[in-house]
C-alpha cells in the first residue's frame, strides 16, 4: 500500500456510492426538510456519511427538561440491516446509559428493524429519557435513585451535565 493508491482512490471511491450512503442521503434530506421538534442530526463530514452527530432536547416534565444532549452515530456497512452504534457524547446520568455513554435500548440491539431510521431512534431515545427501563439498568445507582430519591438524582444529573460545559 502506498500513497499513490491514496491519490488515485477518490476517483475509484466515487463509484462506491453504496446503498448505505444512498439511504443516509435520503434520511438527511428528510431530517432537513421536516425535522421533528427537539431533535437534530447531521453528518460530521459531508464526505463520510457514516458518522453523524445528533442532539436531543430533554422532554418537558422530566429531569432532563431543557437540557440538550449530544449523541454520536456510527453506521455499519450493512445499515439498515444492522443498527447504528449510538452513544451519548454528553455526560449522562440515566438508568439505561452507562458512564461511557453506551445505551441499553432494545431497538438498537435485538429489536432493530431495517425500517427504523435516525429520526425514529432519536424519538425513541427522547422517550427513553422520560421512561427508563429500570429493570435492566446499565447504571445501577441511577436506577435506584430514580425510584427512591428524585432529589439526589436531580443533583447528580446536574453535576454530570455540568461536566459538559
Amino acid at each position: 500500500m502506498s500513497v499513490s493508491t491514496a491519490a488515485v482512490a477518490p476517483a475509484a471511491g466515487s463509484s462506491n456510492t453504496t446503498n448505505v450512503t444512498k439511504r443516509l442521503q435520503k434520511e438527511l434530506m428528510q431530517l432537513m426538510m421536516s425535522p421533528s421538534p427537539g431533535t437534530s442530526a447531521f453528518p460530521d463530514d459531508p464526505c463520510n456519511l457514516l458518522k453523524w452527530t445528533a442532539t436531543i432536547v430533554g422532554p418537558d416534565d422530566t429531569y432532563f427538561a431543557g437540557k440538550t444532549f449530544k449523541l454520536s452515530f456510527a453506521f455499519p456497512g450493512d445499515y439498515p440491516l444492522q443498527p447504528p452504534t449510538v452513544l451519548f457524547t454528553t455526560p449522562m446520568f440515566h438508568p439505561n446509559v452507562d458512564m461511557a455513554g453506551r445505551i441499553c435500548l432494545d431497538i438498537l440491539k435485538d429489536k432493530w428493524s431495517a425500517v427504523y431510521n435516525i429520526q425514529s431512534i432519536l424519538l425513541s431515545l427522547q422517550s427513553l429519557l422520560g421512561e427508563p427501563n429500570n429493570k435492566s439498568p446499565l447504571n445501577g445507582q441511577a436506577a435506584q435513585l430514580w425510584d427512591e430519591d428524585p432529589k439526589e438524582y436531580k443533583r447528580l444529573l446536574e453535576k454530570r451535565h455540568q461536566e459538559a460545559e
Binding site: A9, N19, V20, Q30
Partner: protein, 457 residues
C-alpha cells in the same frame, strides 16, 4: 453528493405538499428508493425484492411489524410496480409543472397586490376630489378584496385533491384501463383539467389532508388485498433442504426425499432441488447472456421460469464447507483456495448471492450473471469497508479504505513536510557548526518523508 437527488421532500414546497406522502408510500422503507420488483409479505407490507430478502436472511421477521415471515411466502405486488413505473415516468414533469404553477401564482399575487394598491390610491384620490362621503366606504373597500380571492380558492380546493390523480391518470389509464376507478377519474380529467387550469389555488391544511387520504388510503387497501394466498398457505412450511413450501403433513417425507436426493450421486432433476437447482440457472445463463449482447435488454422471466430458476436458501448445518466452496466456485464467485475464509463467511456469501439472484429474477430488467457477481463483490467490499476489525490481508479493500482516509493521509503528509522543513532548518543550523555528523541525519529524515511506508506506519 449528487446534485440531482430525487426525494419525497421535493414536494413540500410545491402547491401540493401532500404528494410527499404519496411518494413516500411508493418507496421501500428499507432502502428509501422507489420499489424495485416489489414483494409483499404475508402480513401485507411491501418492500423491494432484494431488500426484504436481505432482511429476512438477517432475521425472519417483517421489518415493519415484526411478524415472522419466510422468503418463500413472498408474493409479487403487481399493482405497486405499475404505480411506481407510472409515477416515476411523470415525476419530473409533474414537479416542473407544479413549480411553474407556483411561480405563476406568485407572480399573479404580486400583480394583484400592485393593482389593489393602485386601485386604492385611485379611490382615495377620487374620494378626496368628490368630497368626504364617510369612512364606512373605505372600510368596505379594504375588507372586500381579501374576501374575494379566498372564496375563489375555496371553490377550487374542492377540485384540487383530484388534480394529482388527474395529471397521473392519462398515463396510468393506458396501463390499467380495466380499473373502474381510473376510467371514472380520467373522464373527469378531461373536463376539469381544461376548465380550471389557472393554477389559482393555495396549499392549505384541509386540502393537504384530503390529498393525503385520497392518495394513501386506496393504496393500503391494494397492499393488503394481495396476500390472500399466503394466509391460505399457513399450514405450509419451507423445506429445510430445498426451501420449497410444503404442507406440514408431508414435509417430513419431502425433506427425507430431498436429503436422499442430495446424497445420491446422480440426482433426478424432479426431486433434487437442493443439489441441482444451483446448476440449472448456470446452464441457462450463457443463452441469456448472448441475448443481452444483442438487445441490451432481456425480457423479464416468466412466472414458470422464475420458479424453476429460483435458488433455495439451503441449510447451514446441512452443508459441508467443501460443498460450499465448490458451489461458489461453480457459480463463478471468488473464494479463496487455501481455506482461509471460514465457513461462516462462505455461507454468508452464498446467502447474499441467493438473495441477489432471486431478486434479479423478480426484476423487470434482469441483469447478467456477471453483473450480479460484480454486485455481490461490491456489496461484500462495502461491508468489510466498514468493519476495521475485519480488515486483513485478504478481504482488505485498498481503494475504498484509502479514499475514506485520504484526508488523514494528506494531513499527515502536510504535517510531516512541515516538521521536516523545520528539522531541515534546525539541521542546517546544526550542520553549520557540526557538519559531518548531522548531514546524514537530515538525509534519513528526508527519506522518511519521501517514502510513503514510513508515513503510514
Amino acid at each position: 453528493m449528487d446534485a440531482d437527488f430525487p426525494d419525497p421532500t421535493d414536494w413540500i414546497p410545491t402547491p401540493v405538499p401532500g404528494l410527499q406522502a404519496l411518494e413516500t408510500s411508493l418507496r421501500c422503507q428499507v432502502c428509501k428508493e422507489f420499489f424495485t420488483a416489489p414483494k409483499v409479505t404475508s402480513c401485507g407490507h411491501t418492500f423491494c425484492s432484494l431488500c426484504i430478502r436481505r432482511c429476512l436472511s438477517v432475521s425472519s421477521k417483517c421489518p415493519t411489524c415484526m411478524k415472522p415471515d419466510e422468503e418463500p411466502r413472498l408474493r409479487d405486488n403487481v399493482i405497486f410496480s405499475e404505480l411506481v413505473s407510472s409515477f416515476t415516468a411523470i415525476r419530473k414533469q409533474l414537479l416542473d409543472t407544479l413549480v411553474k404553477e407556483k411561480e405563476k401564482e406568485e407572480a399573479r399575487k404580486q400583480a394583484e397586490e400592485v393593482a389593489k394598491r393602485e386601485a386604492e390610491a385611485r379611490t382615495r384620490v377620487e374620494k378626496r376630489s368628490s368630497g368626504d362621503r364617510g369612512d364606512e366606504d373605505e372600510i368596505m373597500e379594504d375588507a372586500e378584496p381579501p374576501h374575494r380571492p379566498r372564496g375563489k380558492r375555496r371553490r377550487q380546493d374542492g377540485v384540487t385533491p383530484r388534480r394529482t390523480q388527474e395529471i397521473e391518470a392519462p398515463r396510468r389509464s393506458t396501463r390499467t384501463s380495466s380499473q373502474r376507478t381510473n376510467s371514472r377519474i380520467s373522464s373527469q380529467t378531461v373536463v376539469s383539467l381544461d376548465s380550471d387550469d389557472d393554477g389559482d389555488f393555495q396549499p392549505n391544511e384541509e386540502f393537504s389532508d384530503d390529498d393525503f387520504q385520497s392518495s394513501a388510503r386506496p393504496k393500503r387497501k391494494t397492499a393488503t388485498r394481495v396476500p390472500d394466498t399466503p394466509t391460505k398457505d399457513s399450514s405450509l412450511m419451507a423445506c429445510p433442504v430445498c426451501g420449497r413450501l410444503k404442507d406440514i403433513s408431508t414435509i417430513e417425507a419431502h425433506a427425507n426425499r430431498c436429503l436422499e436426493a442430495r446424497r445420491s450421486p446422480s440426482p433426478t432433476p424432479g426431486v433434487s432441488n437442493g443439489a441441482s437447482s444451483s446448476s440449472s440457472p448456470l446452464k441457462r445463463q450463457p443463452v441469456s447472456f448472448s441475448n443481452v449482447s444483442k438487445s441490451q435488454h432481456r425480457p423479464p422471466y416468466t412466472a414458470e421460469e422464475r420458479e424453476r430458476l429460483r435458488l433455495p436458501k439451503g441449510n447451514a448445518s446441512l452443508t459441508k464447507e467443501a460443498d460450499l466452496r465448490k458451489k461458489l466456485r461453480d457459480i463463478g464467485i471468488r473464494c479463496d483456495v487455501k481455506g482461509k475464509e471460514t465457513k461462516q463467511v462462505l455461507w454468508a456469501r452464498l446467502q447474499e448471492w441467493i438473495n441477489i439472484w432471486n431478486a434479479n429474477l423478480d426484476s423487470d430488467n434482469p441483469k447478467t450473471k456477471m453483473a450480479l457477481i460484480r454486485d455481490l463483490e461490491v456489496y461484500e467490499r462495502n461491508q468489510q469497508n466498514q468493519k476495521p476489525s475485519v480488515v486483513q490481508d485478504k478481504g482488505f479493500e485498498r481503494e475504498a479504505w484509502s479514499s475514506s482516509h485520504n484526508n488523514e493521509f494528506e494531513a499527515l503528509v502536510a504535517s510531516a513536510r512541515k516538521s521536516a522543513a523545520q528539522k531541515k532548518e534546525n539541521a542546517e543550523e546544526a550542520a553549520a557548526t557540526d557538519r559531518p555528523s548531522d548531514s546524514t541525519g537530515v538525509q534519513t529524515e528526508l527519506n522518511g518523508i519521501g517514502s510513503p511506508e514510513i508515513i503510514e506506519t
